[in-house]
Symmetry: C2
Subunit: 126 residues, 2 copies
């Protein structure tokens, strides 16, 4: 997927109605009338959102002139997820390194405390 | 993360320059001057993109007045990734079911072919 497709995919996802439509379509193919039901929105408004999703490659529409059922097209969302995952990996690796460092710091501190306790016990005995 | 934050995050990601800035910041904290170098873009244009990323919670900026170094803030992108992953899971499960179905179809077809070959071999022998 090229950069302009990613632009369109992320732009399409930047709207709560369109995300809700995708959430509904994750359950299966649906007619536009059925899709519009839970939204307090005119059919033209819903159709406009569907056009944005279709242009971004996030959904496919059936050819039946009356209903044009909509279904999810996972490829576009997979590319968007892949882009995010690539950078998440970087961060998580940085966090892992930070985590190892903090654990080492704590272990060193525990050793120092033990050593100090030993020394003070020796002093008490002598 | 609420819906309006997701709106801002996805909208911020819908631009190739902003995605390139995030990719650079995944390597580590950077000053704005350093960040601007690879882009054929004015400093005010870069600053504008950084403001969009900061508002979306995708980056944090340092307080040093002159440089205001930028660094990634993984939380926002993690929420965006979580949203996508939830629906990817649905599709992948549907694909898995489809895959099992197709494997069953192929296995049935192979059995039928074997049965037919047996029958025709028997006929040849008799």
């Amino acid at each position: 997927m090229n950069e302009s497709n990613l632009d369109a995919t992320f732009a399409a996802l930047a709207d709560p109605t369109r995300r809700a439509i995708l959430a509904r379509l994750a359950l299966g193919e649906t007619s536009v009338t059925e899709l519009a039901k839970p939204f307090e929105m005119s059919m033209p408004a819903i159709s406009k959102h569907l056009k944005v999703l279709e242009k971004a490659g996030l959904i496919d529409r059936g050819r039946e002139a009356q209903t044009r059922p909509a279904r999810l097209n996972p490829a576009a969302l997979k590319s968007a997820a892949a882009w995010i995952e690539e950078y998440r990996r970087f961060w998580e690796e940085s966090f892992d390194r930070l985590d190892v460092y903090l654990q080492k710091l704590q272990a060193d501190k525990a050793k120092q405390t033990q050593a100090r306790q030993k020394t003070s016990r020796k002093k008490e005995k002598s």
